[in-house]
């Protein structure tokens, strides 16, 4: 439910994978194929001369080496920053506001509320705790957690329930969605909801529900 950039992840992994694949294949080809080895023996000095030429032309008056080292350092620094941003983009998207009307950041008031001044905010914790308290009362659930995430600009609830062993998932789904509908009635918002019926370590070590 987070805003992990999935397409970007796959693109970068593909690019890095292709680069590693190419380097590995080249190394193996150098070892195994004599034609490649002899080609490299001719080509490598040419590339070296090319680099030396560039270094000579980019060395400023009075400097002993090229300014390209500084440029290379700047490029590497930029790459490191981009990679750090990439890491930071994983798993983002939790929000603390369930709904807001009026005030900064809230949606505009509805026309049928008489134009009353002021703003109303329902924090995520209010919705989460209401739902969680209702879920934890159920004997067929070993645990539950509720969190709020930003989905394309609107807050959405992620309800994670851990049913005890042997509890049929369809009854859990129906009853949790009934609780969600009750929350809809209380808050007045019909938010996107994800019900994730999972099995965790905690479920595995608890006894199955014997009476249903």
């Amino acid at each position: 439910m987070n805003t992990t950039p999935r397409v970007l992840n796959r693109l970068v992994l593909a690019v890095v994978g292709l680069l590693a694949l190419a380097a590995g294949a080249f190394g193996l080809a150098l070892l195994a194929v004599p034609a490649v080895a002899s080609w490299w023996r001719v080509t490598a000095p040419r590339i070296g001369e090319g680099i030396d030429g560039v270094r000579g032309r980019t060395t400023l008056e009075g400097q002993e080496d090229t300014w390209l080292w500084a440029a290379l350092a700047a490029v590497l620094l930029a790459l490191v920053v981009l990679l750090a941003l990439w890491i930071a983009a994983q798993g983002r998207g939790r929000t603390g506001v369930f709904a807001a009307v009026g005030g900064p950041g809230g949606s505009p008031p509805r026309p049928d509320d008489g134009g009353t001044a002021g703003s109303v905010t329902i924090t995520a914790a209010a919705a989460e705790q209401a739902l969680k308290a209702a879920l934890l009362e159920r004997p067929d659930l070993a645990g539950a957690s509720v969190s709020t995430w930003e989905l394309r600009g609107v807050p959405g609830l992620r309800v994670r329930v851990f049913p005890r062993k042997g509890v049929p998932p369809y009854t859990v789904a129906v009853e949790v969605s009934r609780l969600v509908e009750a929350l809809d009635a209380v808050t007045g918002y019909r938010t996107p909801v994800l019900i994730s019926i999972s099995s965790g370590a905690r479920v595995r070590f608890t006894r199955a529900e014997r009476v249903s």
């Binding site: 439910m1 987070n2 992990t4 999935r6 992840n9 796959r10 693109l11 970068v12 992994l13 593909a14 890095v16 994978g17 292709l18 590693a20 694949l21 380097a23 590995g24 294949a25 190394g27 193996l28 070892l31 490598a44 000095p45 590339i47 680099i51 002993e64 080496d65 300014w67 080292w69 500084a70 350092a73 590497l76 990679l83 750090a84 994983q90 798993g91 989905l151 394309r152 959405g156 309800v159 062993k165 042997g166 509890v167 049929p168 998932p169 369809y170 129906v174 969605s177 969600v180 007045g188 918002y189 019909r190 996107p192 909801v193 994800l194 019900i195 994730s196 019926i197 999972s198 099995s199």
Partner: protein
Amino acid sequence: MSADPLDRSTPASTARLVRRELHSSRAIASVGTAVLLIVALLVLLFEALLKAVGDEPFLVDLEAAAAWVGTLPGAAPASLLGAGSALLLVLGALLLLLAVLPGRRPRYTIPNERAAVVVDAEVVASSLARRARVAAGVAPEQVLVTVGRTTVTVQVRPTSGVPVDADAVRVAVADDLRRSSVVPEPRITVIVAESGVIGQ
């Protein structure tokens, strides 16, 4: 679209939620790759800075390294070069597969009017095992249910001397699956073991 402005849940957003939950986001592979790359780039960055200010190299002499690459495969021991290249090849293939494969998680979705519902395969298996156990009249330890993407395998070890009705087990399991209406619908295989166990 709904006329109610407070209705923020659409079928499209629900479908998107389900799709994202059923597939891996590749976040762990991405973070691992990024950390490795950052470490390598920081070493290179440090060496480039040392070069820029005209100091001695610290760990890797970039010029010597480039010259060494130019003389390959001459001076390097073949075994080391081969092993390193093979490692890079395997790593690259692994990353490429991670990028290309769909990365389905062992989960199913249950159609629901209000919410997006996803179920771990383990929960489905546990529910099926319970139904199969009741239908076969055996103890929980005598039933093993394996849930794959398109198949459900129920293995029953009957209690010695008490025959197990495989068809009854199949019907019970099929009924449970139908009620969950998990998508995609799996195929059911019931295997009753030849030898029984001493029952409880």
